[in-house]
Structures are given as structure tokens and as C-alpha cells.
């Protein structure tokens, strides 16, 4: 039984995107993957809560695909969380709909990896910065796994790093569908590329 994947893609300026647009396009025609461009579907942030909750019910893995904005998600993903993850749906006594599902952030970050350290200019590791997301997943009984990140995203194309990243992205999606990702291992990494081969079974 293949796992079903839901990609919630949030990018407010896609005509300027170099990384996320390509990643989204790569995922579009893969079987068992549902791709949702949130800014396209809700240009006025008028999120259809019922529809989004139904989508969550239908899928096993939820991926947030976004560029890192001020150490967090773009606004519409926050709106999406505020509106869709309702009491007695995502949390609370009767709110067990998301139990056991996997939440995976897929991120492009401007800074280099060395910046996301105690002595780097961002001072915190990416895992630390993503704690709000991690705790949201925990609160909703979901399994949060380490983010799949492209650091230094502004120059990835020029430095020829994008094609490798896209290839890995495709491999990762396929492995998630086939349930070949070691979730327990993936939970503990700083980010998935630290031991990419290691988490694939």
C-alpha cells in the first residue's frame, strides 16, 4: 500500500523563485502525491477549512514546501495552521485525525549552513528555529521529522547545486511513497542531508 503525500506549497513571489518553483514542478506528476499551491488557491487567504481538513484526512505524509521567511513559514502557511488545525480536529479530546501522520518541512534558506550555529550570525540551529513547527506537530499527535533543506539557496543555481538537490528531492518523495524512510532515524537528525543515504532503507 503506497503512502499518500500532501505537499502544501507556500511561495508568495513565484515569478522570482529559482528553487521552490522547480521543486514544486518536479513533484507535480508523481503518482500518490497531491500538490497544493496555497497562494494560487487562496490568493486572498480565504482558506477553505473543510476542504483542507478533508485533504489532511486523505494523506499519510504532509509536506510544507516553502522558502524560510524570518526563521518561519510565509504568512499563508501560518494562516493555514491557524485555521485548519482546529480544536477537536487536530487537537483536543476528539481531535485525533492527524495521529501518526508524518510532518516534513522542505525549506530553502538564504544563509549558509555555518550561519545556523551558536557562533554563526543566526545564532541558532535550524532545528532550534523550527521548534514552533515541531511542537505544533507534537501537539497534533504527528511525527515531526528533520527538515530537508537547501542552504545558500540564493546562489544554488549559479553554483550548480540545484540539480543534485532536485534529484534527492525526487528520491525522497519516492522513498516516502514506498515507505522506505526510517522515520525514527529521520526524527533525530539536524536535517535530512546530514545522513541522506542513512535514512533510506
Amino acid at each position: 500500500m503506497p503512502k499518500k503525500i500532501l505537499i502544501l506549497y507556500a511561495h508568495p513571489a513565484q515569478d522570482q523563485s529559482e528553487v521552490n518553483v522547480q521543486m514544486f514542478a518536479k513533484a507535480l506528476n508523481i503518482e500518490h502525491v497531491t500538490c497544493v499551491d496555497l497562494y494560487a488557491e487562496y490568493p486572498q487567504h480565504d482558506i477553505n477549512v473543510e476542504l483542507e481538513q478533508e485533504r489532511l484526512r486523505q494523506h499519510d505524509v504532509v509536506i510544507f514546501l516553502f522558502p524560510l521567511y524570518w526563521y518561519s513559514t510565509p504568512a499563508i502557511l501560518k494562516d493555514w495552521m491557524d485555521l485548519v488545525l482546529e480544536y477537536n480536529f487536530a487537537y483536543g479530546k476528539q481531535g485525533k485525525v492527524l495521529e501518526g501522520k508524518v510532518l516534513l518541512p522542505v525549506i530553502s534558506a538564504g544563509g549558509a549552513e555555518v550561519a545556523y550555529q551558536e557562533d554563526g550570525y543566526n545564532h541558532f540551529s535550524i532545528r532550534e528555529l523550527l521548534r514552533p513547527l515541531e511542537q505544533t506537530a507534537n501537539f497534533c499527535f504527528m511525527q515531526f521529522i528533520a527538515p530537508f533543506i537547501l542552504f545558500g539557496a540564493r546562489t544554488a543555481v549559479e553554483e550548480g547545486r540545484l540539480s543534485d538537490h532536485l534529484r534527492r528531492w525526487h528520491t525522497l518523495l519516492q522513498a516516502l511513497i514506498d515507505d522506505r524512510v526510517n522515520i525514527d532515524k529521520a526524527k533525530d537528525l539536524e536535517h535530512l542531508s546530514v545522513d541522506f543515504e542513512g535514512i533510506l532503507q
Binding site: H45, D46, V49, E50, D79, L83, E86, Y87, G92, K93
Partner: protein, 634 residues
């Protein structure tokens, strides 16, 4: 009278049968007309010597065609192509003349006769080439544009040639020519007796009349006619303009084609351009067709079979020489790959001006009657072969380059395509401004010249014309358009327009402005892809302002607007289906009204529930969990 009817019927009948068949077989319409001509002329003998007279009349089609070509060409574009015009055109005429002349000299002809033959054969057929370009959509290609500049130069070159040829007269021929050869170009001629300097002044003055008149007189005239709202008056005015200029040019001994071309260029910037094109187009089409038929009918098989070898050799020789010249010019001017081949193959024939000059040379005792009798079918045959060369281009050259050029097509996809905006009143203006601000090319049509005047003042380029006319949509480029925005006032016309476009151009997405609910449904059932009621969103906006004025929090007011809009939108389909069940005249049946009231209730309920209970699914809620929810987590 009866004779004319029968003749007209024969010509039309031949065209109606031959052209669609030729088109179906991929031969193009020009070849179809030519074949039709051959069948009714030399083969069956249905028509006889009157074809020559008809041909002179039909040449007016060429004049109209150049008017239309001029309309497509703004003065700025003409100025930009000046290098090509003089360089390419000048070299083509010069080199072809020189080579053909040397060929004639080698055959032992007199140098004066050789030079005249060289000049008249260096010209190509504007009629066939432009017509075929248009049909195959090649006008905008690099090869097409280069070929056009050569043709234009040739049309201009005819004037000095006409002046020059009498100087080549050979006294020994003077006695042998049969008098009375009819010169259609100017049996009425006002200027032949004038001295050179005065003639020059007259020529300049007439050109000035065309340019200045076109610039300053035509627009008020057309505006005046447009305000009467009589379509046939507009057509009559357009015809009057073209014929008047042709007459003026003939009177002063200039080429009528050149004069109307100039007038076209002058009018290319005017808002009446598309309407003029639409009105003249059918006349041009029929006259040109007639012209091609007469070329076919005029082929004299007797002369050909008597001089089989000479005619054959001449045809091959001329086309090879012209093609060689064109090919080297293409190389020289870097017209590469398939464009170079198009340039070479399309212009390798002799043209209709060749016939004109040929009879002119005979009259002026430059070329002997015997030579002329041979050259005439030679010119006709080269014209006959041209459509075949176009087929060669399609089947061989394009195929060859298609395979090597597949990666280039990415550019085409990036091209956004144009948008046609019908109606530039209060509604259309906003749409057009938004599109233009985003660098999207639009073609705007409106039929109120007052409105056009006003928007042209603020630099919004608008064409005059009734946008609900299918032929006007055609000239506006509906075939290549991606979108049609219907923003005209007239409700019935709007519906007809949507219906027509959806039927004949299903690839075009149609967005329409509705006057009210019923009109919106009409537009939907006519096939519009998206319908917006003209007052809906502004009313909603003002309603939101009303809520805010009553101290509802702005963000809350926004949510209320969205909830309203969403509920209304969701019920739209349901109401529309109910409306469809009613009959044509009275769609608003009792059950429709019941449904409408029910939906109104639903709307109120949705909003009220949200307002009082603070929780509703039909809009974003940002609803906090119950006050005691923390107990669960201890």
C-alpha cells in the same frame, strides 16, 4: 447585360470549384485560381479575348492589396526597413536586370531591347507572393519581411522604368508595330505634355495631397461617417478613398499601387485601421482572384507549343537567374536558414508589372511584337510555377529545418499572446489599464468615436469598429488571441459575440461583463468562460465600507464580505440550473424565485451564525478553543 451575367457566372463558378479543391489538396488558393483560369480559357474556350480587359480591371486588386499592406505598416516601421528596402531591393532589381540583359545579349538581341527585357523581368509578382504569405502566415517571418521590402522597392522602381523605357526606342521597330495597343495605365494623362521640372512639382504635390489629406482630412471624414452609424456608408467611403487616390496617381502618371500604399501607411496609426481593413478586404480578395484567373486564361497554348523549346528554356533560365541573385543576396544580408530559402523561392518569378511594362515597351518600339508574344506566356508560366515553389518550401525546406530547430520553440510558449478588449467604456478601461501595466499587448475595439476620442487623449490606443462583427474580430487577430474580454454595453451584441467566438474560435478564452443576473446567465449559456456582474464587486466593496463606518472592525468587515461572496458564489450554479429550466421569455419562474429567496435565507443564516456564535465553517474563523480545553492536557 445577359452576356455579362453569363461571363461573371463562368468566372465565379470556376473559382468556386477550383479554389476549395486546390486548398484542400494543399496547393494554395493562388494555384487554384490559375488552374480555374486555364480551364475556362485555353482548355475549354469558355472565355475569350475579353480576359485582357478584365485583367486590367482586376489589377485594381493589387492596388487594394497594397493599401491593406500599407495599413499594416506604420511609418516608423517603414523607416526602420529603409536599409533593406534600398539595399536588398536595389541590388535585386539591379543584378537581375544586368544578368537577364547579358543573357539576352548573348542570344544576339539588341542592347536596348535586352535592357528593357531585363528590367521588366526583374520584377516579381506582388499579388501572388503577398497573397500566399498571408495565407500561410509567413508575413511576419524574417524571410517574408525581406521579400516584402524587395517587392515594395520593385513597385517604386516601376515609375522610373516607365519614364526610362521610351528613351530606349528603336527607330527600326517603329514601322512594324500595330497601332492601338491599349494602355490601361493612362489613356487620360494630364502631365505628358508638361516640362520636366513642372512634372516633378506636380508629382510632389500629388504625393503631398495623399499624405496631408490622409493625415488631416480622412480622420474627421471617417469620424463624421462613423457617427451616422451606417455601415455601408463607411464601406463606400473606404472605396471612394482608395479609388480616388488610384485615379489621382494615374492622372499624374504614378503607380496607383504606390499611392494607395502611401495612403495606407498614413492611415496605419488611425483608429479606423481595422474597420478599413475589414471593409476593403473582400473587394481585394475577389479582384485578386479574378486577376489570377485572367493570368491563367491568358496563357496561349498555341504560341507555347510552337516555341516549346524557347519558352521552356526562357522560363527555366529566368527563374534560375532570379533565384541565384536572391540566394546570394540572402547570404549577403544574413537572411539565414529557412528564411533565406523562403526569400529565394518566393521571388523567383516574373510578375504582373511585367505584363504592364511589356505592352508599354511594345508601344514605345523597344521590344518587337514577336519577342513580346513569347515573353508573355513566359511571364505567365513563371507565375504559375510560384505556388509550386511554395509547396516545395513547405514540404522540403521547412521539414528539413524543423528537425534541427525543435529546441527553439520554447520562446513561443513564453509569448503571452494578445488580448482583445471589446468595449473601452468605463468598464473596459480599467481592464485594459491593468493589462497594459503588466506588459500584455491588447487590441482594443469600440464603436463610439466619442469614447475613442476621449481614451486616445490619454494614450490608450483604440480601434474604431463594431466588435460584434466576426470579420472585424478577424482583422483584430482573433485567430492568434489568447483572450477576449467582452465589455460592451449592448447586452444582445455581447451574447452574440460570445456565441460566435466560442463556436468558431474555441481556443479563445472569453471573459464577459454582465449587466445583471439574467444577462450573466445568457452569457454563461452562450459559452463565456467567466462572467462578472458589472456592479457586483463595487457594491460589495461599498457594503464593506458601510460596515466599517458602523464601527465593525475592518478585518471583520473583510471576513463578512468574503463570507457573503462565497455563499453567493456557491449558490450561483444552483440558481443558474434552475433558471435554465425556465423557457426563453420568462426564465424567472416561480420556482426560481423560491430558490432565490431560500438562498437569501441561507446567506443571512451563514453570516448571522458567524456573528453570534463566533464560529462558522463558511469563512476563516480564527476561533479560540473552549475556555476549559486546558483541562484535557493535565
Amino acid at each position: 447585360m445577359t452576356v455579362y451575367f453569363i461571363q461573371a457566372f463562368i468566372y465565379l463558378c470556376a473559382a468556386v470549384i477550383a479554389v476549395p479543391i486546390a486548398k484542400r489538396l494543399g496547393l494554395g488558393s493562388v494555384l487554384g485560381y490559375l488552374i480555374a483560369g486555364v480551364v475556362i480559357g485555353p482548355v475549354t474556350g469558355l472565355v475569350g479575348s475579353e480576359t485582357v480587359t478584365i485583367q486590367h480591371f482586376a489589377e485594381f486588386g493589387v492596388v487594394m492589396m497594397l493599401f491593406l499592406v500599407g495599413l499594416e505598416l506604420e511609418p516608423r516601421m517603414l523607416w526602420e526597413m529603409r536599409n533593406k528596402l534600398i539595399g536588398l531591393g536595389g541590388l535585386q532589381v539591379g543584378l537581375s536586370t544586368a544578368l537577364i540583359m547579358s543573357g539576352c545579349l548573348l542570344l544576339g538581341l539588341d542592347w536596348r531591347m535586352s535592357l528593357a527585357i531585363g528590367m521588366l523581368l526583374s520584377l516579381s509578382s506582388t499579388a501572388i507572393v503577398l497573397q500566399t504569405f498571408q495565407e500561410k502566415g509567413l508575413s511576419k517571418s524574417e524571410g517574408g519581411k525581406s521579400a516584402f521590402s524587395v517587392l515594395l522597392f520593385q513597385d517604386i522602381a516601376v515609375i522610373p522604368m516607365l519614364a526610362f523605357i521610351p528613351l530606349l526606342a528603336m527607330p527600326e521597330l517603329a514601322g512594324s508595330v500595330v497601332a492601338g495597343e491599349d494602355d490601361h495605365h493612362g489613356s487620360v494623362d494630364l502631365v505628358s505634355h508638361l516640362p520636366g521640372w513642372l512634372y516633378g512639382l506636380v508629382v510632389l504635390a500629388s504625393i503631398a495631397v495623399v499624405v496631408v489629406g490622409g493625415r488631416f482630412l480622412c480622420r474627421p471624414l471617417f469620424r463624421f461617417i462613423a457617427e451616422t452609424g451606417l455601415r455601408e456608408m463607411f464601406t463606400a467611403t473606404a472605396l471612394m478613398l482608395v479609388i480616388g487616390i488610384a485615379a489621382l496617381m494615374s492622372l499624374v502618371g504614378l503607380s496607383p499601387a504606390l499611392g494607395t500604399f502611401l495612403a495606407g501607411v498614413v492611415l496605419a496609426n488611425s483608429e479606423f485601421r481595422h474597420e478599413l481593413e475589414t471593409d476593403i478586404e473582400p473587394f481585394k480578395g475577389i479582384l485578386l482572384g479574378l486577376f489570377f484567373i485572367t493570368v491563367g486564361a491568358g496563357i496561349n497554348f498555341g504560341v507555347i507549343s510552337d516555341n516549346m523549346l524557347i519558352v521552356g528554356a526562357a522560363v527555366v533560365g529566368i527563374m534560375l537567374i532570379k533565384a541565384a541573385v536572391l540566394f546570394s543576396l540572402a547570404r549577403l544580408f544574413r537572411i539565414t536558414r529557412h528564411d533565406g530559402w523562403l526569400f529565394t523561392l518566393s521571388l523567383a518569378q516574373a510578375g504582373e508589372f511585367g505584363f504592364v511594362l511589356l505592352s508599354f515597351t511594345v508601344q514605345n518600339h523597344v521590344v518587337s511584337q514577336e519577342i513580346s508574344n513569347i515573353l508573355s506566356p513566359v511571364i505567365a508560366i513563371t507565375m504559375f510555377l510560384t505556388p509550386l515553389l511554395f509547396i516545395l518550401f513547405d514540404k522540403v525546406v521547412l521539414r528539413f529545418y524543423e528537425q534541427s530547430e525543435e529546441e527553439k520553440s520554447v520562446d513561443d510558449i513564453a509569448d503571452k499572446g494578445t488580448v482583445i478588449v471589446a468595449g473601452i467604456g468605463r468598464f473596459g478601461q480599467i481592464i485594459n489599464r491593468l493589462l497594459i501595466a503588466n506588459d500584455i499587448p491588447t487590441v482594443v475595439l469600440d464603436y463610439s468615436s466619442t469614447v475613442i476620442d476621449n481614451v486616445n487623449k490619454v494614450n490608450m490606443k483604440t480601434w474604431y469598429g463594431d466588435a460584434s462583427r466576426p470579420d472585424l474580430l478577424h482583422t483584430a487577430g482573433i485567430e492568434e488571441a489568447r483572450l477576449l474580454v467582452v465589455a460592451i454595453d449592448d447586452q444582445h451584441r455581447a451574447v452574440d459575440m460570445v456565441k460566435h467566438v466560442k463556436e468558431f474560435h474555441p481556443h479563445v478564452t472569453v471573459l464577459a461583463r454582465a449587466f445583471d443576473r439574467a444577462h450573466g446567465y445568457d452569457l454563461s449559456s452562450a459559452g463565456a468562460d467567466m462572467v462578472i456582474s458589472e456592479t457586483y464587486y463595487s457594491a460589495l466593496e461599498l457594503g464593506g465600507e458601510a460596515l466599517k463606518a458602523l464601527d465593525v472592525h475592518p478585518f471583520k468587515a473583510e471576513q463578512m464580505k468574503m463570507a457573503f461572496s462565497k455563499t453567493d458564489h456557491e449558490s450561483r450554479e444552483e440558481v443558474y440550473q434552475e433558471w435554465l429550466k425556465g423557457d426563453g421569455d420568462n426564465r424567472f419562474t416561480r420556482s426560481w424565485i423560491t430558490l432565490f429567496l431560500e438562498i437569501e435565507q441561507r446567506l443571512v443564516a451563514a453570516i448571522k451564525r458567524n456573528r453570534i456564535e463566533g464560529h462558522d465553517r463558511s469563512e476563516s474563523g480564527w476561533t479560540p478553543p473552549p475556555k476549559d480545553y486546558l483541562d484535557e492536557f493535565d
